[in-house]
């Protein structure tokens, strides 16, 4: 066996050992990654009774206004607000528009928008607290 062939054999053996180590480390890394993943279950596999939203609820949500109300009494309190204040709250919190933009559209000052927001929220808070105490 000449020197070159000996060198090539040693190279191959060295590479095989190196590759074995690289593969082993990659495998450990992969397994660690996949172990930390949370198990997921598709919606179809879940029993219907534990699903939080049913078809009736979906229909109700569809028929609601822009606000997705969590509580019916909040919806009632909102409905009792003057139309202009309802519109301002919707633009502020649902459409996420700036008071300055709203002021331009409603042809009023930004301060007026802030005032309307303040009074509307105060009214909602008061109504909800009153109803809450009454229950």
């Amino acid at each position: 066996m000449d020197h070159q062939q000996e060198y090539d054999d040693v190279l191959r053996a060295r590479f095989t050992k190196w590759l074995d180590t690289v593969i082993y480390r990659a495998k450990l890394k992969y397994l660690r990654k996949t172990e930390t993943k949370l198990d997921t279950v598709s919606l179809e596999e879940l029993p219907e009774r534990i699903l939080p939203v049913y078809e009736d609820d979906l229909r109700q949500i569809d028929s609601m206004d822009a606000f997705a109300f969590e509580e019916e009494r909040l919806a009632d309190a909102f409905a009792n607000l003057p139309i202009k204040r309802q519109r301002i709250l919707t633009m502020l919190f649902v459409e996420e528009r700036k008071p300055e933009e709203i002021a331009k559209e409603l042809n009023c000052s930004p301060q007026h928008v802030y005032d309307q927001r303040y009074h509307a929220l105060k009214k909602l808070r008061t109504e909800l607290m009153e109803e809450g105490d009454g229950r």
Binding site: Q4, Q5, Y7, D8, D9, L11, R12, F15, T16, W18, L19, D20, V22, I23, Y24, R25, A26, K27, K29, Y30, L31
Partner: protein, 63 residues
């Protein structure tokens, strides 16, 4: 493949030749597949991960 040929292919693979890298993958498929067996079956995702890992690291092998 004789040892001389192997040395040449390995060198090319470390220098970034895709063809040479594929030859290395073919040559070492039994070793790679051995590591990819989980519960007796080859995990294709793991195999893919290992192949990418080799491709990214082969340039670090000092010839």
């Amino acid at each position: 493949m004789n040892p001389e040929e192997f040395g040449k292919i390995l060198e090319e693979a470390t220098l970034g030749s895709h063809q040479a890298l594929e030859r290395i993958f073919e040559l070492y498929d039994p070793l790679i597949s051995k590591h990819c067996r989980i519960d007796g079956k080859i995990d294709e995702d793991l195999k893919q991960y290992i192949l990418i890992h080799i491709a990214l690291n082969i340039s670090k092998f000092d010839i």
